[in-house]
């Protein structure tokens, strides 16, 4: 038997590569229209996503201005190995940015999940379904407004001269005015509120659909046995949707190094005084690009990409172990 198998293999091998070519040509001939449809999207993805991957060589080079053409510069400048990586590894701003990003992500994960879950449970329990739907749509609205609009709103509340909180709350109550944009200690709390208003409503949609999808028979049986509403939520609803919760949490962990650029860049209005509390890894990379430290920025970007990919793969692998259906891939 094994002999037959090996002969089969050796017989097939030489023609295998050749077959791929034949197959592609055959497919293009028979289904050329599919390729025509794919073409515009493919070109876009190739240029905007795959060509930049070649650009990561920049992370291993010392970029210098020699010629006006960027690519001649890139070609001519010298290889420096991992020097660019050591540069930002020794930068205390980078570690501050790492700490800020991971810290906020963990905070948002815990609070966001809790608040979204509470919204879903409450909306599901309200007797008047029309009102419930109205509340829920209103909670979703902020998600569709831009971060720039949010930065205006936050400024209207916290602004130094005319801000609502200083002028209409703190001063009339006899407190001192607070320079919000200069005090880092308030920012975790401010960013938490802004982020909650923008995204908690949307986060609740998944939980709500999971709750609505539960089999009503469970609840009927529980009622027959005299379970109160609270007991039903604790003993039936939460355990049944715990899978969804855990999986969403793990999938979020995969993006632990990415933070919403708009939130951290626009809401603090780039105030230099509160950078220690608001600069994330993405913003660190962006500022390096703005100050033309291309190689260092590219190295930091590559570091983030690689770590990001590893964490996504790892978390997806974990989710697959729990529930194959829920894994991304």
């Amino acid at each position: 038997m094994s002999q037959i198998l090996t002969t089969c293999k050796t017989e097939k091998k030489p023609t295998y590569k050749y077959n791929i070519f034949i197959n592609i040509i055959k497919e293009i001939k028979t289904n050329y229209s599919f390729f025509i449809l794919l073409l515009p999207g493919f070109i876009l993805v190739f240029i905007l996503n795959y060509l930049p991957m070649v650009g990561i060589v920049l992370a291993f080079k010392k970029y210098q201005l020699i010629d006006r053409n960027f690519f001649i510069n890139l070609f001519k400048c010298e290889w420096v190995g991992f020097d660019n990586f050591w540069l930002f590894f020794h930068d205390k701003n980078f570690f501050s940015a790492m700490r800020v990003t991971i810290g906020y992500n963990i905070m948002f994960m815990i609070t966001g999940t809790t608040i979204s879950l509470i919204i879903a449970l409450v909306i599901n329990e309200i007797s008047n379904k029309k009102m419930a739907k109205f509340y829920h749509s209103c909670m979703l609205l902020p998600n569709f407004l831009s971060w720039v609009v949010f930065s205006y709103v936050v400024f209207a509340f916290l602004g130094m001269e005319h801000g609502f909180i200083n002028n209409s709350i703190l001063v009339p109550l006899g407190f001192k005015e607070i320079s919000w944009y200069m005090e880092p200690k308030y920012w975790p709390f401010i960013l938490f509120i802004v982020n909650t208003i923008k995204s908690a409503g949307v986060g609740s949609i998944l939980y709500l659909s999971a709750i609505v999808g539960l089999d009503p028979e469970y609840f009927e049986l529980a009622r027959i046995y005299g379970a109160s509403k609270w007991q039903q939520i604790r003993m039936i609803t939460l355990p049944l949707i715990s899978n969804v919760i855990i999986i969403l949490l793990i999938l979020n962990l995969g993006h632990i190094l990415s933070a919403d650029f708009g939130l951290f860049y626009n809401i603090p209005m780039r105030s230099a005084y509160i950078r220690e509390a608001t600069n994330t890894v993405d913003i660190y990379i962006y500022y390096l690009l703005q100050t033309s430290e291309l190689s260092k920025s590219a190295a930091a970007g590559l570091f983030k990409s690689v770590i990001g990919m590893l964490t996504v793969l790892l978390t997806n692998f974990t989710v697959r172990k729990i529930d194959k259906e829920k894994a991304l891939f």
Binding site: G55, F70, M139, V148, M269, R270, A298, A300, V312
Partner: protein, 302 residues
């Protein structure tokens, strides 16, 4: 049956409490935006005296008057935003639907390979700097209007959403019978698949238009002069320095120097913010259904 389990069980008192709690959270979500609207209608002098307030002493439409007087630049800024949103949305929906259709067809041999090509981009990317270099050195996007459109044209997530929709709602048998009648694949796509997929096209289109309308990031990174300033980017600049308004090719074009000095900058910028929120808030009640649908289709994996 479902009705029984979810409604009959909650006591009147609890229902009232939950209603109040939901209403309170709804207000927390909406009231902050109301403050911006009120500020834009407040008299500039009242702001100087009492600061921003929900209950202004004097109302005034000076900000809107100033905006409408300086029509040249504000119309241009608004026009850029509208142009980018319309062109970007139409192009992106067409391109993404064109990509999603072949990879949804089971008789296309390389559907998995082409799905992987776009899926991989969500896993790994070159990072900001290489992307910036491609945009500026290869595509020459810097300071053109295409800088605000091209980078967002293809979105893997929505392509997968469309693919899932095509696969689940358009029956293979319809396509087969059209093929027997001699229709080409492109014709099938145009005359059968697209009309049948209007719901998903509408949802994705809405989300793309929101993305384009709300974008400030592409301008921040790819626009260095004031030629193609869109509304969000103008707002972003104005918030930091109110004088940016006059830099914008003279928002007070046709106004004298003294009139320019009198322009109520505090309220004008809040009026701009109202203009930016306006279209979304006004359209939201009508399209809300599609928004929610779009968000839930997104939950289904491809």
């Amino acid at each position: 049956m479902k009705k029984l389990s979810s409604t009959d069980n909650i006591s009147r008192g609890w229902n009232i409490i939950l209603n109040i709690a939901s209403a309170a959270y709804t207000l927390i979500c909406l009231l902050p935006f109301l403050l911006v609207v009120i500020i834009s209608l407040t008299d500039e002098k009242a702001i100087a005296q009492y600061g921003y307030s929900y209950l202004p002493k004097n109302l005034s439409f000076a900000a809107y008057e100033a905006l409408f007087k300086s029509t040249n630049s504000i119309l241009r800024v608004y026009g850029v935003s509208i142009f980018v949103t319309v062109v970007g949305t139409v192009l992106s929906v067409i391109i993404m639907a064109m990509y999603a259709y072949p990879i949804s067809r089971s008789n296309f041999r390389y559907r998995n390979q082409f799905t992987f090509i776009i899926f991989f981009t969500t896993l790994f990317g070159g990072g900001l700097v290489p992307w910036y270099i491609i945009c500026t050195q290869v595509l020459r996007l810097k300071n053109t209007v295409w800088a605000l459109i091209v980078p967002y044209l293809f979105n893997t997530f929505y392509v997968i959403v469309m693919k899932t929709f095509f696969k689940s709602t358009i029956h293979e048998s319809i396509i087969e019978s059209a093929k027997l009648d001699g229709a080409s694949e492109i014709r099938i796509f145009r005359t059968i698949v697209l009309p049948l997929s209007l719901p998903v096209l509408a949802s994705v289109g809405l989300f793309m238009s929101i993305i384009y309308w709300n974008d400030w990031w592409l301008s921040t990174i790819l626009q260095t002069d004031n030629a193609w300033v869109n509304l969000q980017y103008a707002m972003y600049r104005v918030l930091v320095s109110a004088t940016y308004l006059s830099q914008l090719g003279g928002i007070g074009q046709g106004l004298t120097q003294s009139e320019l000095a009198k322009m109520p900058t505090e309220t004008v910028r809040m009026a701009m913010c109202v203009f930016a929120m306006g279209p979304i808030v006004l359209a939201y009640p009508f399209f809300q259904r599609y928004f929610v649908k779009g968000l839930t289709i997104g939950a289904i994996k491809g």
